[in-house]
């Protein structure tokens, strides 16, 4: 167990010291989500009726959940590169804790996820987003956000190990998760959708995540969403972390 913690820390450190050396990654974390916020707020926002809530207040918790779910992309692409460049072979030949390569990656994602969440919140505040909740709830919102992001990092870890190229890792993640985030309450109220989509949106974990964030940050009625969101995140983690570690152990991918 001590090995697991030390080795995870070593790998996390490795993934973090390279960040400032790859500025294009930092840009992907920050510029792209800002662009999306501005697009939705100013291009689509005027046409979307969110009842008593200002659209910017409705949008920020939604878009921040979408963004955090994709934070694990760095893990998918990075792991895939490690597989193809033989680094995974080297790690697997070392007497290190088996899950550490993946755990180190996903832990490093928490840091980058936190940074990008802060950038989004600041952008939101600049264009008019206002928290309407006690400080404890706001902090709790950040914690929930990071938990959701961490769970999805493991989904992407598996994608990174299974995919044959970084490009396919990219498109697998995109095709699987992007529609899920849109058919939810993230950008528009599901009540405006056709019945089939609406039924799907209502049970979509993204709806639960987003509504939990709204409950914590803008004080919309909680209705148990927060615990529902925690449970969903833990379930995703409990399913995908063992799958990814098993994949890593057996032999790192094709190619």
């Amino acid at each position: 167990m001590r090995r697991l913690v030390t080795d995870t820390a070593i790998i996390a450190e490795r993934n973090l010291i390279r960040l400032p050396r790859k500025p294009e990654l930092l840009i992907a974390f920050t510029v792209q989500p800002i662009m999306f916020v501005l697009l939705f707020r100013f291009v689509f926002g005027g046409a979307i009726n969110t009842g008593g809530t200002a659209y910017v207040d409705y949008l920020i918790p939604g878009i921040i959940v979408q963004n955090i779910a994709f934070g694990g992309f760095v893990t998918a692409i990075g792991l895939n590169e490690d597989v193809h460049k033989g680094l995974i072979d080297r790690f697997r030949s070392l007497p290190m804790a088996r899950p550490a390569v993946l755990a180190g990656r996903t832990v490093a994602d928490i840091v980058t996820n936190f940074l990008s969440a802060c950038v989004l919140v600041i952008t939101g505040v600049i264009i008019g987003f206002a928290f309407n909740a006690p400080v404890l709830h706001i902090v709790g919102g950040f914690a929930l956000l990071l938990l959701i992001g961490y769970a999805f990092s493991w989904v992407f870890a598996l994608v990174g190990l299974v995919a044959t190229t970084p490009e396919s890792a990219n498109s697998i993640g995109f095709l699987a998760i992007f529609p899920l985030t849109f058919i939810s309450s993230a950008f528009v109220p599901p009540a405006t959708m056709p019945p089939v989509l609406r039924a799907f949106a209502d049970v979509n974990p993204f709806t639960i995540f987003v509504d939990a964030m709204r409950a914590l940050w803008i004080g919309t009625p909680p209705r148990g969403y927060v615990w529902g969101a925690v449970v969903w995140a833990l379930v995703i983690l409990a399913v995908f972390a063992p799958l990814a570690v098993a994949r890593y152990r057996s032999a790192a991918g094709a190619g």
Binding site: R14, G86, F91
Partner: protein
């Protein structure tokens, strides 16, 4: 996990098989490598060399058969074995976004060394591999040869008893290759056991104490370089003809003195002989008597190329640029 006996062989492989789907990568391989020696595993692309190295370094489990490295079973004692081996792969497995020193320090710490000790060891290895000046630079700026040296250094971080080098010089320019050979020779002189895979015959010839030739997942020959060459039939007289059209007549003439039927190709006739003594004079005599003109004549030992050709029926291919060894 009892400590292995000191005098034991470093690597013992018995009947190891491995298939990937329908592709049989290894079909029952046996291998013995005594401690402190270099075994050259020689074979063309797809022969199963990398698969065997991956099994011996605990990256793959064999379908059948057993393999032990310094007494540790590669499956049952994998965790303990990993402390004692170093692997330098076909791809230079270094993190491109870290500096040379950061790479080595990371590997040292993953072997369990404290940070300061890992850093010291890293600096020591950089010095030894002539990378001290580049040690603070991100490795994406390194040349191919520098990356290979760093990769090899990473394999040596924990002072392993056995080092596996999977095609260590594939893709390197001749000068970097020579430098890497010298490094490997220095390593061996310190008593490290090395298993080296290569498709370069000259590399095996120069570095290996004994050579195992594998093709299609089977061991087809093993022995020292000299033993393998003797198998192909020792020495031969080679004559370069003035007129390639004389090849058939020349072969017939030399047939009177040859141990086996001479062969002819591209205006060169090659005749295996039993002894060195007087054979050149005899050959010149026989050919002159037939009025056949010669540009050159010499006596030569077979190369590993000849060995390979006679064992496998095909030449050892030149490595292609895009290495796709076998299913991984």
């Amino acid at each position: 996990m009892s400590p292995p006996a000191e005098r034991e062989a470093a690597i013992v492989v018995r009947g190891v098989t491995k298939s990937f789907g329908d592709v049989r990568a290894l079909g029952g391989v046996d291998l013995d490598v005594p401690r402190g020696t270099v075994l050259g595993l020689l074979g063309p692309n797809g022969a199963g060399k990398t698969t065997l190295v991956r099994i011996l370094t605990t990256l793959l489990t064999p379908d059948a058969g057993t393999a032990t490295v310094v007494g540790y079973d590669v499956v049952g004692d994998a965790a303990a074995l990993r402390h004692r081996i170093g692997l330098a792969g076909q791809y230079a497995a270094v993190d491109e976004n870290l500096t040379g020193l950061e790479n080595l320090t990371m590997v040292g710490r993953l072997y369990g060394a404290p940070r300061a000790a890992a850093k010291r060891r890293g600096a020591e290895l950089l010095e030894r591999f002539d990378l001290t000046d580049a040690g603070g630079r991100v490795t994406s700026t390194y040349s191919g040869g520098m990356r290979r040296r760093l990769d090899l250094a990473a394999a040596l971080v924990a002072k392993p008893t056995v080092v596996f080098l999977d095609e260590p010089t594939t893709g390197l320019d001749p000068r970097s290759r020579l430098a890497l050979w010298e490094t490997i020779e220095a390593l061996v002189s310190e008593g490290t056991t090395v298993l080296l895979t290569t498709q370069y015959l000259d590399e095996a010839d120069r570095l290996a104490d004994s050579i195992t030739v594998i093709d299609h997942g089977q061991v087809i020959a093993s022995g020292t370089s000299d033993e393998l060459k003797d198998r192909v039939g020792g020495e031969r007289v080679e004559v370069v003809l003035e007129d390639p059209g004389d090849a058939e007549r020349a072969a017939a003439a030399l047939g009177q003195m040859a141990a086996e039927a001479p062969s002819a190709a591209d205006g060169v006739v090659s005749a295996p002989v039993r002894t060195r003594r007087g054979v050149i004079a005899e050959a010149v005599g026989l050919l002159s008597a037939e009025g056949i003109g010669m540009d050159d004549i010499n006596l030569r030992r077979p190369t590993l190329d000849d060995v390979f050709l006679s064992l496998t029926g095909h030449a050892a291919e030149e490595p292609t640029e895009t290495e796709e060894e076998e299913p991984r």
